[in-house]
Subunit: 150 residues, 2 copies
Amino acid sequence: MAQVKNNYQFEDMLQKHNLKKTAPRLRVLSMMYSKNTATSQPDLESVMNDIDRVTLYRILNTFEEKGIIHKVFDLNGTANYAVCHSDCKENHHHDEHLHFNCTACKNVYCINELNMPRLTLPAGFEPQAFTLYASGLCPKCSKKGAARVN
Amino acid sequence: MAQVKNNYQFEDMLQKHNLKKTAPRLRVLSMMYSKNTATSQPDLESVMNDIDRVTLYRILNTFEEKGIIHKVFDLNGTANYAVCHSDCKENHHHDEHLHFNCTACKNVYCINELNMPRLTLPAGFEPQAFTLYASGLCPKCSKKGAARVN
DNA sequence: AATACAAATGCAACATTATTGTATTTAGAA
DNA sequence: TTCTAAATACAATAATGTTGCATTTGTATT
Ligand SMILES: [Mn+2]
Ligand SMILES: [Mn+2]
Ligand SMILES: [Zn+2]
Ligand SMILES: [Zn+2]
């Protein structure tokens, strides 16, 4: 599931976005592309504990601005970050897909293969974007039974 | 729009939920019922600045547990609280409605008059609840034109 | 009306998440 | 190799949320 990319490709990505190739950035990219779920800020911070917290925040903000990753708040309000698979451009995201929050393993999945329902709102409301969340059991956790944690 | 309730009714509400009638609780109820939008935690805290922050958190948690209010994270991850209009019971909410986040005035509206679309997810995912957000302009702000803030 | 006690509040301390400013380091261009 | 803008590291501070405990208070009971 996880997008497979090597270090050269990550370097290319940075170059294309006019970002310097630095070790912290490459590590963040590598980590996020190695997973098929979003990465929570706490996770990121504990895994990359040798990188300064502020640097992490700035890397994440930069990547988000550049359209490399998008931020998702899970159902507890925790910030999660996931790679963009849509053709997101600088300051112009197209990540209107469903986010699935597993109640057992807490992972957040981007469900790209599902188009958002366009809804009609009450008069006066002018919606510009929709965000849809679902919570429940992810494939791994539903297999193992509701009791156990992934 | 805002639900009109007087102090006696708030006292009744507390009593029905086996909660003591205290000034902080009544003030929180009064504030939340006077609006037709959700109340952000920062707002609540600045308006009720004479009530201890911890007390506010505890009141909000209690009300949420009792099914009086529900928590909504807006698109910035800020906690907002709104009164429940569905028949929410203790530890059993039914607030599966759309939340509209106005990009101009930042208000969060509960759109109860709209039923959630039941979606089919990829194999393996077992959704238990859906949460739908929309962002854009609310009626007030769309009238005034996109530039101006409410 | 006074008593008694559980519940609620207030206060202090602490934890986590996030932001801002600035000095130092470094990637990449010249 | 040198130079510089960009990026990182470090320090300080803000915002948000939690925990423990002493004090106060609502309400049931006498
Ligand atoms: Mn996503
Ligand atoms: Mn709501
Ligand atoms: Zn799971
Ligand atoms: Zn508005």
